[in-house]
């Protein structure tokens, strides 16, 4: 048995309170106030009284489940294996050419879909596909950073079970940073398509090189061109420029070919996720809602919309000039972006990079509006929220998004007094660091300096500010009562489960060590985070009986995916990501094919608790898809998003089988 499979089972649960928080409680603005659990009393449209949404980082569907065979009778999945792109052992299959990757001759302006005449197929001789490298992945163990040298050092992490802490000690590359990743079989001469991250020297327990995952890059990688549209693929997105864009958009980026890597779930990689898919329900048509990265996707998940620059009082204002993107190529380069920044005014087609996307949307065979308001500069890439973790407004000098007026699902739940919580790993430590940073320098608080001067709470740096959509919102983060009631730590989620005080809606986000992000985390670490949560639930059968656990990711992280993409508006959709649904009403290794994205989670919540769409422009207004029997993946009423109701069978007797065997 490999160490990867040995690691999974029979773990004990241990919880620790946040590091020394009690010793600082007198000087902290955080609060231990527990949300009251009125969840069971709330009227719901289904037997589900609680949802827990756990969000990992940066893994796509083919990347994770590309080699997976559903166990349910008659169930099918659309993935690398089912399409014959790869064989069951991960080697190229008979239809490997379906994933052929291309390079593109230099163009004068940014393009959303490359001209077909300018595309040249990568090969293994004259036009070699960029190869995978160790971009950002740790070379060796460290006494003070993952992978740690031993379990005692790794115990700085408290949000996994003791038996899993050893996962934080393994997986260093043994290679220098930014070199060819020779752990991958065939690296250096891999053919121009997907390759398996499996071999004597590499598994899902290893750190791997990262890829860039930003808006204009992701849009370009999808290569959506209406000239390539077919009945089966009406959006004409070919997903064939993944390594090319990574290799060319910047003179300094070192992502190269990592985005074509995938794991083999049929051969013990991502083994917990596979086990859950074998026992519950998996969607093979669930998408990241926003092209690009973490912040915008989480924001869309929390609001059904995109964030925009404002005066902090709700009024749109131009973003600072140094934050406005210009993806047009620098003269004389193949594809090097002029200004790889974070905001765009997409209602103005004269803005760099906007017209190709708007033109494409206008030519789609369905009505997809950009949904960009005049004079609004939208956040398309990671930008810190306008509040620190302790509620302090971030000074303008730091370039954070000013406090946001965009309505969140938290606001909608509050209006009906339905309990909810956002549980961010290492949040309590982050709030303490924020207190210290503000105390040290109110005009320009420095969280890094605070972490360096407070080692006991340094892990607070691993709390993901941009993952918390409510941390952007004036209505939540700017209100001390709201903040204390709803913004919490992972340990609070576990405690709420143990004490039967779980809110109706809970959103769990692991810290940066456990989120599964390539190069800084691993899939098995996110699995360990999930295991910790579902083990706590397993110990509470009554609570488990009316709880649905959704396990998904913020984005595919730049990884290639072979699935159909439905462009909805200027901002997305992007590639498929896994969505697992665990509940007594979603058992049986079912694979659901209905088109959905992050906003579908909002739609489920809204349907179950009888809420209205958040605003008149949010994506939760979109209808559920209708489909032809001949193609269950492509909505005939685009743009459309499923509300995930059909991932449950509420007419069946609840099946209280264990989450894992």
């Amino acid at each position: 048995m490999s160490p990867v499979t040995e690691k999974k089972w029979k773990r004990s649960t241990a919880l620790c309170s946040s590091l020394l928080s009690i010793s600082l409680s007198l000087f902290s603005t955080t609060s231990g106030i527990a949300a009251s659990d009125a969840a069971a009393a709330f009227k719901t449209k289904s037997p589900i009284k609680h949802v827990i949404i756990l969000i990992g980082e940066n893994r796509g569907l083919d990347h994770t489940f590309g080699v997976y065979k559903p166990k349910g009778k008659g169930q099918t999945i659309s993935n690398l294996l089912s399409k014959g792109i790869v064989n069951e052992d991960g080697t190229p299959g008979p239809n490997f050419k379906l994933t052929q990757q291309y390079s593109v001759a230099p163009q004068k302006l940014y393009y959303f879909g490359a001209p077909n005449s300018a595309k040249m197929p990568y090969n293994t001789t004259t036009n070699i596909m960029p190869q995978p490298n160790t971009n950002g992945a740790p070379s060796a163990q460290s006494a003070t950073g993952a992978p740690f040298q031993n379990v005692t050092e790794a115990s700085v992490e408290k949000d996994i079970e003791p038996g899993d802490v050893q996962l934080l000690t393994t997986g260093a590359t043994g290679l220098p940073l930014g070199v060819l990743d020779t752990r991958i079989p065939g690296a250096g001469s891999l053919p121009p398509g997907p390759f398996v991250l499996q071999g004597p020297d590499i598994s899902d327990d290893d750190y791997t090189g990262d890829t860039t995952h930003r808006f204009f890059q992701a849009a370009q990688q999808q290569d959506c061109n209406i000239q390539n549209a077919t009945a089966a693929n009406p959006s004409g997105c070919l997903n064939d420029l993944f390594p090319f864009v990574m290799a060319t958009y910047s003179s300094s980026n070192k992502s190269e070919g990592n985005e074509m890597g995938f794991y083999n779930a049929e051969q013990e990689e991502a083994s917990l996720l596979k086990t859950l898919a074998d026992r519950f329900t998996l969607s093979d048509n669930f998408h990241q809602s926003f092209l690009g990265g973490t912040g915008a996707n989480h924001f869309m998940f929390g609001t059904g919309d995109a964030a925009f620059w404002s005066d902090g009082n709700g009024n749109a204002t131009p973003a600072p000039a140094n934050q406005i993107a210009n993806p047009n190529p620098v003269a004389g380069t193949v594809n090097q972006y002029t200004a790889d920044n974070n905001f765009t005014a997409c209602a103005d087609v004269s803005q760099p990079g906007v017209k190709p996307i708007v033109d494409y949307l206008e030519n789609l065979p369905y009505d997809a509006e950009p949904n960009c308001k005049e004079n609004h500069y939208y956040m398309i890439d990671n930008t810190n929220p306008g509040y620190l973790s302790n509620g302090t407004v971030v000074p303008a000098v730091q370039g954070a998004l000013p406090p946001s007026p965009v309505r969140t699902i938290g606001d909608a739940l509050n209006e009906k007094n339905i309990s909810w919580g956002y549980f961010g790993g290492a949040y309590n430590d982050a709030a303490i660091l924020s207190n210290e940073a503000v105390a040290s320098n109110p005009a320009n608080p420095n969280l890094t300096a605070a972490a360096e001067t407070d080692p006991a709470h340094a892990v607070g740096i691993a709390y993901c500010q941009i993952c918390n959509p409510f941390q952007y919102a004036t209505s939540i983060m700017g209100n001390a009562t709201q903040r204390a009631a709803h913004i919490k730590d992972t340990s609070d989620l576990i405690t709420d489960i143990q004490k039967n005080t779980l809110p109706a809606v809970s959103i769990g986000k692991p810290d940066g060590l456990l989120d599964g992000h390539p190069s800084t985390s691993k899939i098995d670490l996110f699995e360990a985070y999930v295991q910790n949560v579902i083990d706590a639930l397993e110990a509470k059968p009554q609570l488990k009986a009316d709880t649905a656990v959704f396990i998904t990711w913020d984005e595919a992280g730049g990884y290639y995916d072979s699935g159909y993409i439905q462009p909805i508006d200027f901002f997305g959709d992007g590639p498929r990501i896994p969505l697992l649904v665990l509940s007594p009403y979603s058992t049986g290794s079912i694979v659901n094919h209905s088109y959905a994205d992050h906003v579908s989670l909002l739609k489920f919540i809204e349907r179950n608790w009888e809420l209205k769409p958040l605003t008149d422009r949010s994506r939760d207004n979109l209808p559920n898809p209708t489909v032809k029997k001949s193609n269950l993946y492509v909505p005939t009423n685009s743009p459309a998003l499923d509300d995930l109701w059909d991932l449950f069978d509420f007419s069946a007797e609840p099946n209280l089988q264990p989450y894992t065997e």
Partner: protein
């Protein structure tokens, strides 16, 4: 013989007060010779050897919970915290060090600003406590921007049977509070933030403290957060401000 507590009055006169059973501070086993020697030498950084409990006080003035335990021997202080249980701080005003020790992980680290108490719970000169607190603030990195501890003597105040010196305090970050120093112990025995919350020292027991309590086992590794911070900065959870 019933235990009694030594008292050094503010004028330097040694006096003895009977132990009050209701006192928070009273269970003391004293060493008169030691007191006399210290009184003569007047060492500002040396306190009595003693141990005491630490309790937190809520805004209403009532005891809110236990914070931990403090042990003092000369220039050395150990503060045990109840959560996470087993962790403790070791301070030394002569060596100018302050460490947080994590026995569960076989780690120790510079305490820095992990706790305000590493600045305040150290032996002080009762007539100038801020001098020592400022030294500890510098060790903690809490005085980097020119801030300093400032103490304004408010007078003497009887605290359950003993005379303490009451000070108005301003931290290097500008936060105001009030502290009471026991001139005999040369130690902060009561602290109140302006919202009424604070700590009290309770169940004080004078006597020698084992040297091993203040030692860090040789096989423990020192934790430096810089590498952890740099690793995290490679991920999406960290966003550098735009240039």
């Amino acid at each position: 013989m019933a235990p009694v507590s030594p008292r050094m009055g503010l004028a330097g006169v040694i006096r003895f007060a009977p132990k009050s059973n209701s006192s928070c501070f009273m269970i003391r086993k004293f060493n008169i010779a030691g007191v006399l020697i210290l009184a003569v030498l007047g060492s500002p950084a040396m306190a009595q050897s003693f141990s005491a409990g630490l309790v937190t006080i809520g805004a209403s003035g009532g005891q809110a919970g236990e914070l931990g335990k403090v042990r003092v021997a000369g220039s050395k202080v150990r503060i045990d915290t109840l959560a996470p249980q087993g962790d403790f701080f070791v301070l030394d005003t002569i060596a100018k060090s302050a460490y947080l020790v994590r026995p569960g992980q076989h780690l120790f680290m510079d305490a820095m600003q992990s706790s305000l108490w590493t600045q305040l719970l150290v032996p002080v000169d009762p007539v100038d406590p801020c001098a020592q607190w400022q030294v500890m603030a510098k060790i903690a990195g809490a005085a980097q921007n020119g801030g300093e501890w400032r103490c304004t003597r408010l007078g003497e105040e009887m605290l359950v049977g003993l005379t303490a010196i009451k000070y108005r305090l301003v931290s290097p970050g500008g936060t105001e509070s009030t502290g009471w120093i026991d001139p005999h112990l040369k130690f902060l025995i009561k602290f109140r933030a302006d919202d009424g919350t604070g700590i009290d020292m309770v169940s004080t027991e004078e006597g020698p403290q084992a040297e091993s309590l203040f030692a860090i086992p040789a096989h423990y590794s020192k934790f430096d957060p810089k590498q952890l911070i740099e690793r995290i900065k490679q991920s999406d959870v960290w966003v550098e401000p735009p240039k």
